[in-house]
């Protein structure tokens, strides 16, 4: 397996001038290609901060983050934008589609930023909408879609650029249980069939149950990692 995310000793502190609060404290994280990992923990445990640093949206105070072998903590703001465009897919909590573009245009937009040819774009868009089972909603604007449908389009958009992995920050937080289940089905299917790496933060038990690896953060520290536990169990079994 290939290492996609490799974070070493990553820390992030807020309120440095008053009382320092460790949002993320000496975190080591290693994610391989094809993993379907949930980052769980109570509110304020540092899930989003850690995801932001892995996604190159924020910089750690100390530590390094490697994505597919590239140390992104050393990249400039402009280099990070370019890096994110080519390597990372994002799914945000509150859908965050561009409201004035249709579902199809939202998905196509990322490929346009990457200067992908029209014929390839068309093919990819068609394929993605089939995968998210929304072929009939391609030309509809986000306001006319349900929350679940919007989040599925967001997943399609995240995948449009063929990223190294997809970061999803509480993707089901604003969805009803049926929509959340549908979204998870699609994400699981993409992970199983296309080996797309997903790392998502959540406190939704339904999501946690579907994850193959669960990492628990409390007060900015990793307190448990199911991968580590299973490795220990595997060793014990041997």
């Amino acid at each position: 397996m290939n290492t996609v995310i490799d974070a070493h000793d990553v820390s992030k502190t807020y309120n440095l001038e008053t009382i320092p609060v460790y949002a993320v404290n000496n975190v080591h994280l290693h994610i391989e290609k094809g993993e379907f990992t949930a980052l769980v923990g109570p509110s304020g445990s540092g899930k989003t901060t850690l995801l932001n640093m892995i996604g190159g949206l924020d910089k750690p105070d100390t530590g390094t983050v490697y994505i597919d072998g590239v140390e992104i903590t050393k990249l400039s703001a402009n280099q990070l934008i370019e890096f994110r465009l080519k390597n990372i897919g994002f799914v945000f909590q509150s859908f965050n589609l561009i409201p004035v573009l249709t579902a199809r245009e939202n998905v196509e937009f990322i490929m346009l930023l990457q200067n992908v040819k029209k014929s390839i774009r068309d093919e990819r868009v068609k394929q993605l909408f089939t995968q998210i089972e929304m072929d009939d909603k391609m030309n509809v604007r986000p306001a006319q879609l349900s929350g679940g449908q919007q989040q599925r389009v967001a997943v399609a958009r995240a995948l449009a650029s063929k990223p190294k992995f997809v970061l999803a920050d509480e993707p089901t937080a604003n969805l009803d249980s049926k929509s959340a289940s549908n979204l998870l089905d699609i994400m699981t299917k993409l992970n199983n069939e296309e080996h797309i790496t997903f790392l998502f933060s959540t406190h939704d038990q339904r999501v946690i149950d579907r994850a193959r690896r669960v990492i628990t953060l409390v007060d900015g520290r990793i307190v448990s990692d199911s991968a580590a536990v299973s490795t220990k169990h595997e060793k014990a079994d041997v």
Binding site: I81, L85, I98
Partner: protein
């Protein structure tokens, strides 16, 4: 896609966009209307200068205009006049004898320029007959008649049939006086000239000056304004000893006024667009601040700063440009409507307008020649107006924007 995104973004808040588009349209209309008015005024002023004051070209003895001394007649003037009339581009050529003198009445006196003219020629070349507001044109059967301007008539309390004494020096330096009767009072659009110029019959003036059949000035009207420089060059080559001037050289203040007003009209346009720029900046700033999260998301997804800037610029540009055709159309329709009947500005003060050489009827003309300049100003306004909102957008940190 950025173009589509920018265009659709401006229609997110329709009312706000329509208001700013309308204000740009009205601002542009006002600017173009001012340009049209200026163009109409300048055109009318230039036409006045050419058609009723100095003509397109004038020929003098090269010493004459230094002190207007009557001995500096045009040598071989008749031959020159004949040659001028043979030039195909020449519509009309007239001649004048000119001297400076003083008119006196029992109530006062005034310095004047005495123009000895051939009445019928003068009526054609400077439309003197059309300018008569009181009295009758020169009567060939009568002698010692004079035509004076309204302003001078008022100053000297003269009316048709009034008597006055005209005094000047002849070519020998002797003082000559002649009693004349006012035939008519004329009024042009140039009050200062009306106060200064009086017209008498050339034969009578020449006799008093002692220059017989000679004259001091040839005034030329061309068929086409554009031929002035060409004919001037041609005449200068043919008659190098004479002073041959175009209307621009004879009336430099008019030329300067046209050039200055051209510059002023751009300044006015700039001021209008500068004022509008604040409205545009305000609208765009609101649009950016309302979309902080969305712009942060675009940066997070990988939209670089140049494209963010381009997006904000295009939104501002479309917003500005959407108002441009509307403004131009309203201006064109209004100007087309007013062009024929003209705009009567007598309410602004006939005297004031006349003292600057302008008539009170202005025929606004669509400034098609300045349209590219106007559009350039509009584009510049959009570019300048987008800078502040774009800077705001560029400063957004994706993490903070997404958190907002």
């Amino acid at each position: 896609m950025i173009f589509i995104l920018a265009w659709r973004n401006i229609w997110r808040n329709k009312m706000r966009s329509i208001i700013i588009i309308l204000s740009i349209a009205i601002g542009l209309f006002a600017g173009i209307a001012v340009l049209a008015l200026y163009k109409g005024m300048m055109k009318s002023r230039v036409r006045n200068v050419i058609d009723s004051e100095v003509g397109h070209l004038q020929i003098h003895n090269s010493n004459f205009k230094k002190d207007y001394e009557p001995q500096f007649i045009l040598d071989k003037g008749t031959e020159v006049l004949k040659a001028v009339r043979q030039i195909p581009e020449v519509k009309l050529a007239a001649f004048r004898s000119i001297t400076t003198g003083m008119i006196a009445t029992p109530t006062g006196s005034a310095g004047v320029q005495v123009n000895g003219v051939v009445p019928n020629l003068e009526y054609s070349i400077s439309q003197l007959r059309k300018k008569i507001i009181n009295g009758k044109p020169f009567d060939p059967a009568k002698r010692n008649e004079i035509m004076i301007g309204q302003k001078l008539a008022k100053k000297m309390k003269l009316k048709p049939r009034s008597k006055l004494v005209l005094t000047f020096t002849d070519t020998s330096g002797n003082m000559v006086s002649n009693a004349l009767r006012v035939a008519a009072i004329y009024k042009s659009d140039n009050a200062p000239l009306d106060e200064k110029n009086v017209y008498v019959n050339i034969e009578e003036l020449n006799a008093l000056l002692g220059i017989r059949n000679s004259f001091h000035e040839i005034v030329i009207l061309l068929k086409n304004d554009a031929d002035v420089e060409k004919i001037q060059q041609e005449l200068r080559q043919k008659f190098p000893v004479y002073q041959i001037e175009s209307w621009r050289e004879i009336s430099p203040e008019t030329d300067l006024m046209v050039k200055t007003v051209n510059q002023y009209s751009y300044i006015i346009m700039f001021i209008i667009m500068f004022a509008l720029a604040f409205g545009i900046v305000n609208t765009m700033l609101m649009a950016v601040l309302e979309r902080t999260r969305e712009i942060g998301m675009l940066v997070a997804l990988g939209m670089n700063r140049l494209k963010i800037f381009l997006l904000i610029f295009l939104e501002t540009f479309f917003l500005t440009l959407a108002g441009t055709p509307v403004g131009i159309l309203i201006a064109w329709l209004t100007i087309a409507y007013l062009n024929k009947p003209g705009l009567d500005l007598s309410g602004m003060g006939r005297e004031m307008m006349s003292s600057f050489g302008f008539g009170t009827m202005i025929y606004p003309e669509f400034p098609i020649d300045k349209l590219s300049g106007v559009i350039l100003i509009v584009i510049l306004t959009a570019l300048i107006s987008c800078l502040f909102p774009a800077m705001k957008a560029l400063k957004l940190q994706p993490v903070e924007a997404l958190r907002s």
